[in-house]
């Protein structure tokens, strides 16, 4: 880590100001579970680190006029274990349970989870001057792209790492942020922007804006599923969240795109009708129809299709009859000699 100055202000406004006035850049630290890694690898070298530990009132989880209000400093573990979240927004509880490890869930916060930086190995290694670090190349295109984006990629091909964000997009949550111009509330989907907008960052927040609270409409039937290679300590290869609320189905995918990926194709395929095994399979196929895999990640297409189909069925409480025959998973079209 490069040396930095450490500040611990008592209000969000003061924290925001401390970031704004930092002469050599600043980063906010909440749980630190993502930031410390960036500092150690020196892909973040702020002159100042602003801790939120002394800011009161950012922790609770409560229900207010039909919505769950979750403070940005609520830990991932608190969300996972909250009876309120489990009952009123099950997809979010399931997503929280799947995060990292018990130790990471203990310190990792909701705000930090939403603002964490991507896990792309080219981004995480200082030796690769990639687009996201201000360089000129996305190394995944010619490099090893087995975990990279199949949807919405370009010019940078990261996948967004947050599980909570996927659930929150499906649950139609909104986020309250505090910055120089005071407070504003935005739909969670608008918190994120594709790399085509600005490859150097994932969120639309101004540098001095801090997430204060997340608001989640309560009561929709919902489910979250995550496929990973290890059952703990692993990010999603593919994740899916589905909510069946009064305004119709909302479908989000994780691990497949540079943002938590809302699939309007899948939502349209499900329509307002009750979910059936057939409509779930059709919606999953529709969601992946626009997929544009890179060299090494074609397998993620059938994988995401399967995970999404199962998540839709789980949200609807429909038993899984297995994939329709002929198989919904297209046999990978592999050319001879090609590295799969």
């Amino acid at each position: 880590m490069r040396a930095f100055e450490y500040l611990s202000p008592k209000t969000l406004e003061a924290a925001s100001a401390a970031v704004r006035t930092a002469p050599e850049g600043a980063r906010i630290i909440a749980g630190g579970q993502d930031l410390l890694g960036e500092l150690k690898e020196r892909i973040a070298t702020p002159g100042r680190v602003v801790s939120l530990k002394a800011v009161p009132g950012l922790r609770g989880i409560r229900e207010e006029s039909g919505s769950l209000r979750i403070g940005a400093l609520a830990t991932v573990q608190e969300v996972a274990e909250s009876p309120l979240v489990r009952e009123k927004a099950p997809a979010l509880a399931e997503a929280a349970t799947s995060v990292g490890t018990p130790q990471i869930r203990a310190l990792g916060t909701v705000g930090g989870n939403l603002c964490q930086r991507p896990r792309c190995w080219y981004y995480r290694l200082a030796d690769f001057p990639c687009l996201k670090k201000g360089g000129g190349t996305c190394f995944a295109v010619e490099g090893d792209s087995r975990y990279h984006a199949i949807l919405g990629g370009g010019p940078c091909h990261i996948v967004h790492p947050s599980d909570l964000a996927v659930a929150l997009v499906a649950l139609d949550a909104s986020v309250e942020v505090v910055g120089a111009k005071g407070r504003r509330t935005i739909p969670i989907a608008d918190l994120y922007a594709l790399p085509a907008v600005d490859a150097s960052r994932e969120t639309t927040l101004a540098p001095d804006e801090i997430v204060a609270e997340v608001s989640v409409p309560a009561g929709a039937r919902s489910a979250f599923r995550k496929f990973r290679e290890k059952l703990s300590l692993d990010f999603a290869v593919v994740a899916a969240a589905v909510a069946l609320g009064p305004k119709g189905p909302r479908v989000a995918l994780g691990g497949v795109a540079p943002v938590p990926w809302r699939s309007r194709e899948a939502e349209a395929a499900l329509g307002a009708k009750p979910v059936t095994a057939e409509s779930a399979a059709a919606a999953a196929t529709a969601a992946l129809a626009p997929a544009k895999p890179l060299k090494n990640n074609r397998y993620k297409v059938p994988l995401a299709c399967a995970v999404l189909r199962r998540t839709i069925l789980a949200a609807a409480g429909v038993a899984d009859p297995g994939p329709p025959a002929p198989p919904a998973t297209p046999a990978p079209t592999k050319k001879a000699g090609e590295d799969f």
Binding site: R124, F139, K230, L231, S232, A306, V307, P323, P327, T329
Partner: protein, 737 residues
């Protein structure tokens, strides 16, 4: 009486000729009739409490007054010429005490003389360029970023398929394999690939060096204190007696810590230059880049068999990616093909190829894990081609002796098959099938590993006036439980309890030479040496008892003798005797795995696992079962998750942390049952035991791959079995008739 002979010894699966000093050990072997009280029974680790209290001091924990911290600058380029190194800004940083570069460091030959400690040509991304010593780690790291290096980059060689030869191929033949395979009614041919894999011991490599005048003491996380002493003394031009190497506790090695590392020499050089103790520890990323790996293989295999499944010929060729330096030649990937089955015509060839990647080193059963995967996969295909059960094919090709023409001291593989098949319910195999999206499969694999140990290993046993004892031996406990097992053996011979014995090891200044802790050597080599020393002490006590016998009081017991002679203590010495002529001592095993494969996602779940081993006498069943469970889990990692990854364009390691280099977690552990074939192997060693360190990992990837292949109905030619590969195999299985 000592004598000298030329002898063949098989260490880490490689047969080597060497000159051996033979010191006969007259101890009568502990056979099945030996009534043992301590050896052969479960015993908690004698150092368990030190470890569980946090009091055990590992190399990483050694802190000395005035100690400096060293960090290494490594090349970001896989192949380049270093044009210049400018360390002036680093040296100007507050707290920096010294910087070593190719300009000012001695030109010490390294990697068998193929390069030097710090060289102008860097051959992999991670190769050492400069070293900084500073007052603390942070300052040393800051300084690394201030060193300006100019490189002239060259295009790296990364693909083992097109890489140049990296030394002489290792060829073995018996009979005419090509003719035998080509003429066989059943021929199975295939290409199998295994990845480079990383040891990832949790204590990274590292050393602390301190000079006291002309004497150098080094704390090192190593599997071979005497080896490090020898290499370090040679590197620094010091006489051996002025170098002392200590490794009291070490946090895992798995083969990556068999030799002296550059970091050790850096610490010693910087300590001499600054007049301060210096600590040089690798970071996790450095551990992943520059601390060795299991080398990747590309294996081509042809088996010829009769229609009844009996093998007629085996042709096996493996390209072994030894990396940028790898000086130990290719690992014995053909070992299983040479020795596992009865087959008159066998040709194996291991071809080393050189790429611009991190150098390889031994890794738990090097070569055999990879070779067993390919051979056992192919054996299942022979079974399929002949319409036979896979276990039946293995029994039809069972070789009671080493098929190279040696007898075994004992071979319990048939019992392993029998016990394991019954335990897992092998007969269900034909009935397993698809349920919804779940595909079930059952697989097995066999294992052989040379594990009889070897001389030289010496031990000293001191008996105290209170009839407790201390064992001095220059071996090391790398976590396996060596301290405890050696205490049990000494206690057995001296009629003591294990906790009345303290084993002092891991210090070249304290104990006499013992072999490296690798190759499943330790118990079978150091164990008999300790027994011989304890026996010597016991015999001295008995002689003294005769001398002290008086009148009606009769002959005093050993406890009384000790008290009587007081500080004129009895000191026993012993050495590991020679291995039996013309006999091979190997450990055997059979592993059985039942898996469930998700047909839609390619996820593999191991639902049951049975590991059966024959290792002669199990000296400590508690530590042994732990060793097997851990070995199986490491094998599961290699089967399903683990692979070193380089960026295909630059050759830089990109999976260098423990998130991207995937190790199995507690949730990835299936139910594992561990069983041992009972009985000693008294022809192998005087304690009736053989080695167990490596055997548990050998068969695991093959057993799992065979189970997955059974489930999906297609071959799995490449490890690890990640979802992309399994989905691809499922698609192939579906297209197959």
């Amino acid at each position: 009486m000592k004598r000298v002979r030329r002898s063949q010894v098989e260490i880490e699966g490689k047969l080597r000729e060497r000159t051996e000093v033979v010191e006969e050990d007259p101890s009568p072997p502990w056979d099945d009739r030996a009534r043992l009280r301590v050896a052969g029974r479960p015993h908690p680790r004698l150092d368990g409490r030190a470890k569980a209290s946090g009091a055990a001091i590992y190399t990483q924990d050694v802190g000395l007054p005035g100690m400096l911290h060293a960090r290494i600058l490594r090349s970001p380029h896989a192949c380049a010429r270093v044009l210049s190194v400018d360390a002036s800004a680093a040296l100007a940083l507050d707290g920096v005490r010294a910087v070593l570069t190719q300009e000012n460091a001695a030109a010490i030959p390294w990697y068998g003389g193929t390069t030097r400690l710090l060289e102008r040509t860097v051959r992999y991304a991670g190769d050492e360029v400069a070293v900084v010593a500073a007052e603390d780690e942070e300052t040393a790291e800051d300084a690394l970023h201030l060193i300006r290096v100019r490189y002239a980059r060259r295009r790296p060689v990364l693909d083992p398929g097109t890489a140049p030869r990296g030394g002489k191929p290792s060829v073995y033949t018996r009979g005419n394999a090509r003719k035998a395979v080509s003429g066989a009614p059943v021929v199975v041919a295939g290409s199998y690939r295994t990845p480079a894999a990383l040891h990832q011991a949790f204590e990274t490599h590292g050393s602390v060096a301190r000079w006291e005048g002309e004497h150098l003491t080094v704390w090192d996380s190593t599997q071979h204190i005497f080896g490090v002493r020898k290499e370090l003394a040679a590197a620094l031009g010091l006489p051996l007696h002025r170098v002392r190497v200590i490794s009291t506790f070490m946090g895992g090695g798995f083969g990556a810590k068999n030799e002296c590392g550059k970091y050790t020499v850096f610490a010693a050089l910087l300590a001499r230059r600054t007049g301060r103790p210096v600590r040089c520890l690798l970071t996790r990323a450095e551990e992943s880049l520059a601390a060795g790996c299991r080398h990747a293989t590309v294996q081509t295999l042809r088996l010829g068999a009769r229609r009844d499944g009996r093998l007629l010929g085996i042709e096996h060729r493996s390209l072994c990616d030894v990396g940028a330096y790898g000086t130990d030649g290719p690992m014995p990937v053909g070992g299983p093909a040479r020795t596992l089955y009865r087959c008159a015509a066998v040709r194996t060839e291991e071809v080393p190829v050189r790429t611009n990647t991190g150098p390889h080193t031994a890794f738990r059963a090097p070569g055999y894990v990879e070779g067993t995967f390919a051979l056992e996969r192919a054996m299942d295909r022979v079974a399929e081609a002949c319409g036979l059960d896979p276990l039946e094919v293995r029994l039809r090709n069972y070789s009671p002796g080493d098929p190279r023409g040696f007898r075994y001291t004992r071979k319990g593989l048939r019992e392993c098959y029998r016990i394991g098949a019954a335990r897992i319910g092998w007969r269900r195999r034909a009935r397993l099938g698809r349920r919804g999206t779940s595909l079930r499969g059952l697989g097995l694999a066999s294992q052989v590993w040379p594990a009889g140990g070897a001389p030289p290993s010496h031990a000293v046993v001191k008996v105290n006036p209170d009839a407790t004892a201390e064992v001095l031996i220059g071996t090391q406990d790398i976590g396996t439980g060596t301290r405890t097992v050696l205490a049990q053996i000494a206690a057995e011979e001296l009629s003591l309890r294990a906790r009345d014995v303290t084993v002092l090891l891991g210090d070249t200044g304290a104990g006499p030479y013992s072999l490296l802790s690798a190759g499943s050597l330790t118990t079978a080599s150091a164990g008999p040496a300790v027994r011989a020393a304890a026996r010597d002490a016991r015999q001295q006590l008995e002689e003294l008892a005769t001398g002290l016998a008086r009148g009606k009081g009769g002959r005093p017991g050993p406890r009384e003798v000790c008290r009587e002679i007081g500080d004129a203590m009895v000191i026993g010495r012993g050495a590991r005797g020679p291995n039996p002529e013309g006999l091979k001592a190997c450990s055997f095993g059979a592993h059985f795995a039942e898996v469930e494969v998700d047909a839609e996602t390619g996820e593999v779940r191991i639902v049951r696992y049975v590991a059966v081993h024959e290792v002669g006498r199990v000296v400590n069943p508690l530590t042994a079962s732990s060793q097997v469970e851990g070995g199986v889990l490491m094998g599961i990692g290699f089967a399903l998750l683990e692979r070193r990854i380089e960026d295909p364009a630059t050759g830089r390691g990109i999976a260098v942390d423990l998130l991207d280099y995937k190790l199995p977690t507690a949730l990835d552990l299936p139910p594992i049952e561990v069983l041992f074939v009972p009985g000693a192997d008294p022809r192998a060693t005087t304690i009736g035991a053989k080695g167990l360190g490596e055997p548990p990992i050998i068969a695991a990837p093959a057993a799992i791959a065979n189970a997955v292949a059974h489930a999906v109905g297609a071959d799995l030619p490449e490890l690890p079995l990640t979802p992309d590969r399994v989905l691809e195999a499922i698609a192939r299985g579906r297209r197959a008739p």
